[in-house]
């Protein structure tokens, strides 16, 4: 059932720093006894919220030698599956396959000497995990089917899926690209650069015609898909050191336009970070992160309060450092 009732929300914080401290404090308090975090207070410990908490609480400027970090690291080590991946679901003997959170776990554990072995295994799994839709057999089958006109995307690029043996999608591909980028070259398999190139090509191929991304359906039955804020942000973050293409600037411009209408703390936090990392001026938005108290933000899930912590952290290292604002960068 639902999470236990949290105390009545406090009025929204007055300053950014005050809010950041409140959010960090609340996020830290949500750690379960097993070292993991649930999506809600007192919820089942899961890999994804634990990774987001790790990324928010332990940016590179913060010490990693405390009990909170040790416990979360132990949790992530214990949840890694024998094949090197991490599962999206809760622990249990029935969970035999990992998924996209492997990329997130690799980002969360990057730079940790104690996690070197786990990181190598995770990166190897990412490099060897191919989606099913772009296999030579599936591509052959698709050519024979009358409905091959449904979408206009190329099936020659291979990204990553949410779960193994499914299709490539924008967000898991973006997270895999970020995990591969942040890991030192010696940890990566030889095929990593080829996988990165194909993943980057897939992101550009799946971009919506007007810029930005949705889950990965830019055009279905001849109708252009609408971009969404979160997939657009993750794709832009994954592409930030990829070769410049017109699509990236177009998507950044889409995000600038969309930013003004964002009404949820999760999208607002991730969009703020994305624009800052690109050195792009964020327009005045309908809402501000200060509109919500830490408790109200946490009602959206642990991942959301973690994103807000990161967005409010001027010293953050993940998903990237702030760049000096370049006027008209998105034009």
């Amino acid at each position: 059932m639902n999470a236990p009732e949290m105390p009545d929300p406090l009025p929204p914080a007055e300053s950014t720093e005050e809010q950041r401290i409140e959010c960090l404090s609340l996020l830290a308090s949500l750690q379960n006894a097993d070292g993991g975090w649930g999506f809600r207070a007192g919820g089942q410990s899961r890999v994804e919220p634990t990774c987001w908490a790790a990324l928010a609480l332990f940016q590179s400027s913060q010490p990693k030698n405390n009990d909170t970090y040790r416990k979360l690291q132990e949790f992530l080590h214990a949840r890694q599956l024998p094949d090197g991946s991490w599962p999206t679901g809760p622990a249990g003997p029935e969970m035999s396959g990992g998924g996209w959170v492997t990329s997130l776990a690799c980002c969360a554990l990057a730079g940790s000497a104690e996690s070197d072995q786990q990181l190598r295994a995770g990166l190897q799994w990412i490099c060897e995990d191919f989606p099913r839709d772009s296999s030579p057999w599936q591509r052959f089958i698709r050519k024979l089917r009358p409905e091959s006109h449904i979408s206009s995307q190329s099936d020659s690029y291979r990204g990553w899926g949410w779960t193994p043996k499914t299709s490539s999608w924008v967000e898991p591909t973006s997270f895999a690209l970020m995990a591969l980028r942040e890991s030192s070259r010696e940890k990566l398999l030889k095929c990593a650069s080829q996988r990165r190139e194909s993943g980057i090509s897939l992101l550009y191929d799946r971009m919506c015609p007007g810029g930005g991304w949705n889950c990965g359906n830019p055009r279905v039955y001849g109708v252009d898909g609408d971009a969404l804020v979160l997939p657009t942000c993750w794709a832009l973050l994954a592409l930030r050191d990829a070769p410049e293409k017109p699509g990236r600037a177009l998507s950044l411009a889409w995000l600038q336009r969309a930013f003004a209408k964002i009404e949820s703390p999760g999208s607002l936090a991730v969009a703020e970070m994305t624009l800052e990392i690109y050195g792009t001026q964020a327009p005045v938005a309908r809402r501000s992160l200060q509109d919500w108290s830490a408790e109200e933000i946490a009602e959206n899930g642990t991942h959301v309060i973690a994103w807000v912590c990161m967005a409010l952290d001027a010293q953050r290292s993940w998903p990237g450092v702030k760049q000096q604002i370049i006027a008209g960068a998105a034009r």
Binding site: R40, C215, V223
Partner: protein, 305 residues
């Protein structure tokens, strides 16, 4: 299909289902009075129970075309409370966008329901429980499903009346895709597509069959649904104690043949009734509200006469 599952009862031994059609021209009408009176006629066992309303919240929808209208959701919630329910929760797990709060803001749900707090459950990030799929309509042996869905006393599927570019129609059975948690299976829940959409619908509904269905057909969607289709006003709400029968009736209202909808035809053998003779029709007659919906050419076979 495996008969050990208590949801699976062969059509011949299942009692007749009841479906009610009510005419409603606009969302501004007194929906609470209409829905409360309609539900009361069914004499549902909801007193002191916890109820989950599962609307179709599929994406950002300021025009109110693709999602179950918040006025219908709010009126249903109020009605179940007035009927004596101890708690009426609302929950969904949007399939294409993980920012559920953004979707709620875009449909202005809070303006209709008031602050919901923990009475709203984002099913995408709920705690989950492993459910073995005894139906084996797909090759999936199990699914993680939200504990909230599995733990409530009474589950109500509340879809929008829409055509669907892959399944033909999306009504109360297809709406249950939304209970499959994105945090386990992604956005979209692509593992279900690979397992086969029609067959997945059967597995999911056998694992968590709705006790009741309310379809928002005041304004529906035709053509390339469930997101990019065209608005189509049908001016009806449908109610029923068998989601299969409600969906079959909704198809007939849309001028479509339910037995030709692959998953619905199969659901009619085990999960509920598709045949008109097994459905007790209440309220308006189908002919009086029939509003032909356009479908994509691939689904031309669904069009009646």
């Amino acid at each position: 299909m495996n008969l050990r599952n208590r949801q699976l009862i062969p059509s011949f031994s299942r009692p007749a289902s009841r479906v009610m059609i009510r005419k409603v021209a606009r969302y501004e009408e007194d929906l609470f009075a209409l829905i409360y009176e309609s539900l009361r006629e069914f004499q549902l066992p909801v007193k002191d129970k916890t109820i989950l309303l599962k609307p179709n919240l599929v994406g950002l929808d300021p025009q109110g075309v693709m999602n179950t209208h918040p006025a219908v959701i709010a009126a249903a919630r109020e009605s179940f409370l007035k009927l004596g329910a101890a708690r009426v929760m609302i929950g969904d797990g949007p399939a294409m966008d993980r920012d559920t709060q953004a979707i709620l803001e875009s449909v202005r749900l809070k303006e209709f329901t008031g602050k919901l707090g923990h009475d709203f459950c984002d099913l995408n990030i709920d705690d989950v429980e492993r459910v073995v799929l005894e139906t084996r309509a797909t090759r999936l042996k199990e699914l993680f499903l939200p504990k909230t869905v599995l733990g409530v006393d009474f589950l109500v599927s509340m879809p929008k009346l829409k055509t669907h570019h892959w399944a033909g129609v999306t009504l109360s059975l297809k709406n249950m895709f939304g209970i499959v948690p994105g945090s386990c299976y992604g956005w979209p829940k692509n593992v279900l597509h690979w397992a086969g959409i029609d067959r997945s619908i059967l597995d999911i509904n056998a694992a968590a069959r709705p006790d009741f269905a309310i379809i928002d057909g005041i304004l529906g969607m035709e053509g390339n649904g469930p997101i990019q289709g065209s608005p189509k006003s049908a001016g009806v709400l449908l109610f029923g104690d068998d989601p299969v029968a409600v969906d079959a009736t909704a198809c007939r209202v849309m001028g479509l043949l339910p037995e030709k909808v692959e998953y619905l035809g199969r659901a009619g053998t085990m999960l509920g009734h598709v045949e008109v003779s097994k459905i007790q029709q209440l309220g308006e007659g189908i002919e009086g509200v029939k509003t032909p919906f356009a479908v994509l050419p691939e689904f031309g076979k669904l069009v009646a006469g």
